[in-house]
Subunit: 221 residues, 3 copies
C-alpha cells in the first residue's frame, strides 16, 4: 500500500493504493514511513509519488461514511500528517504523477516543492462543490503556501488546474512529462539532501508556526 | 442611486450616483441591496458595476467635511460594508467600468473577482497623497487580497494602475473593453452561481477571518 | 565607513566598509545616518548603496566569534536597524550594487524598493548552509516582504539569485547595469520624496506591525 525505498540519499515513498485515499491503515503506513525518514542518519531527502493516474484523492469518504462518529479523530490525524510532513527534518518533494484532489492536493502543499505531470491529472480543491469547508488547519496550510489569488480561486471556485495552470498559479514549481515526473523530483530532492536536516526542519517549522499550530488545533471550527 | 436587477441567477447591482461616493444614503441603499441578495433563494451570484467613467471614488469627503463629528461611525459603516460583501453567501464579481479610487478601490477588493475596463479608468489608493492612512480594517482587507509587492506599492506610492497594469499586479483578474466589462463579469458570476452560497460564504469567512475581525474592529488605530 | 550625502531631496547613504558587514561601529554609523534622515525637514527619500562588489554580507561573524557572550544584544541591534528602516518616515530604495547575503539581503528587504545590478552579485539567504536559522524578527521581515514561494525557496534552499532571477522572484523590483544602479535608485527615490514622510511612515508601520513587533521582540526563539 505504501512502499519506502532509498535511492542514494533520497527516500522514495510510493503511495500505491489506487486513488490513495487516506484510509486509517494507509495513514498508519504513511506515518511509519515518515518515522523511518525522521530517524535516518546522514544526508536525506524525501520524494512522495502515487501510482497510475492518481497522486491522491484525499479523505476516505467511504470509510468516513461508515464511521461518522470518528470524524473528529480522523481529521485530527490527517491534519497531523500534514503537520508532520511540514515539520520533517529533511527536504521534501511531491512527484505529482496524477490527480491531487482535496486532501490529496493539500498533501502536495505540505511538501517543499512539487513536480506535476503534464499530460493528464488535475490539482483541485473541490470542497466547495462537495458541500464541505476546510478545517482551520487545512485552510491555514493552503493559505500559507499558495499565492493569495490562487488560494482564493482554488478554495472558492474548486477550479481544476492542469500542470501548466498549476505552475502558473504557484501551486507547483515544476512540470514534467509522465515518465520524467519522478526522475525530476528525485534529482531535485537529491540536490537538497546534503542540507542539515535539523536546520531545514527548524527553519520550516519557524516559517509555518501559525499553520502548524492550526493543523494541531481543533478540526471543527 | 442604486439599482438591483436580477439577470437569471445573477444579481446586477448598478451604482448610479455620479462618482459613486459613499454618502450615507448611498450606503443605505447598498446595504439594502446586499440584504436582498442575502435573503434570496436558489442559485445566486452578485455583480456590482458603476456608470459612466466611475466605478466608485470611495469616501464622501464632502459629507465628512460637513460632519466631522461622525467620522468614526461613518468609517465603521464603510468597513462594515466591505465586511458584509466579503462575507456574502454568494460569489461576487466587480465590473470595474471606470475609476476605482481609495474606498472605491477597496470595494473592488472585497469581491471574489474583478473585471476592469481597458480604455480608461484607474485603480488607485491615493491615501498617501491625501495625507490619510488606512483604518486597520482597510489595511487588513488590502493586504489580505493583494500580492505583497502590489499592496506595498499601491499603499506607499499611491500609484494609478490601468487595467492591464492592475491585472499584472494581481489587483484584478480580468480586463475587457468598455462594452464587454459587464458581460464578462456577468458570465463569470453566472458560471459560479450554482455553488452553494452557504458554503461559499463559510469558506470565504474562514479564509478572511482576521481581515473581517479588523474590519469590524476599531477604525482609529 | 558610512557616508551620508544629500543629492536634492535624496539622501544617499553609502556603505563603504569592504563587505559591509555589521560591525558594531558600522551599525552605530548607520544608526546615526538614519537619525539624520529622520530629523531632516522637507521632502526627503533615502537611497542606500554599497561599494565595489558588495552591497552587504550581513552579520559580522568574525566579531561575533570573538564576542559570543554578546550574541543576543548584537542580534537585537541588527533587528532594530531593520525595524528602524522599515519605520522610516521617508521612502527608501536599496541600490544593490553587489552581493546582498544573509543579513545584507534582509537589509535590502527592509527598504520600500530595490534596484539590483545585472552583471554580477547575488541575493542569497545562506543561513541553511551555515547551520543557522533566522531570528523570529528576521523570519517575519522576510515573510512579510517576499512572495510565499520565494520566501520558502530562499530560506529553505539558500539559493543564490542573480538580479534577473531576483526580479522574477519578487525579491527586487528593478534591475540595472552596474553604472545605472545608483542613478535608477536615486531617480526612483526622488520621484517619491515629495510624499509626506509622516504619512509614509505611518502607512508602512501599520502595514508591517506584526513584523516590527517581531523585530523588536526576543531574538532567540
Amino acid at each position: 500500500m505504501i512502499d519506502l525505498q532509498r535511492d542514494g540519499d533520497v527516500f522514495v515513498l510510493r503511495l500505491d493504493a489506487g486513488e490513495n485515499r487516506f484510509a486509517p491503515d494507509f495513514l498508519g503506513a504513511f506515518e511509519d514511513a515518515l518515522g523511518t525518514v525522521e530517524e535516518s542518519e546522514g544526508p536525506a531527502a524525501l520524494v512522495t509519488v502515487g501510482t497510475g493516474k492518481f497522486y491522491s484523492n484525499g479523505l476516505d469518504l467511504e470509510w468516513l461514511g461508515a464511521n461518522p462518529d470518528r470524524l473528529e479523530d480522523y481529521l485530527r490525524r490527517v491534519n497531523g500528517l500534514y503537520a508532520r510532513l511540514l515539520s520533517l527534518p529533511a527536504p521534501t518533494v511531491a512527484a505529482v504523477n496524477g490527480h491531487a484532489f482535496a486532501g490529496g492536493g493539500m498533501l502536495v502543499l505540505a511538501h517543499d516543492f512539487a513536480v506535476m505531470r503534464t499530460d493528464r491529472g488535475y490539482f483541485c480543491l473541490p470542497e466547495v462543490d462537495l458541500g464541505m469547508s476546510f478545517t482551520p488547519g487545512m485552510g491555514a496550510l493552503i493559505q500559507a503556501r499558495l499565492p493569495k489569488a490562487s488560494a482564493h480561486e482554488a478554495m472558492i471556485t474548486g477550479r481544476r488546474y492542469t500542470a501548466e495552470q498549476a505552475r502558473r498559479a504557484g501551486i507547483v514549481q515544476h512540470t514534467a512529462e509522465q515518465e520524467r515526473v519522478l526522475p525530476v523530483a528525485t534529482e531535485l530532492a537529491a540536490s537538497l539532501a546534503a542540507k542539515d536536516g535539523a536546520i531545514v526542519g527548524k527553519i520550516r517549522r519557524d516559517m509555518y508556526g501559525p499553520a502548524l499550530e492550526a493543523l494541531r488545533g481543533p478540526v471543527l471550527a
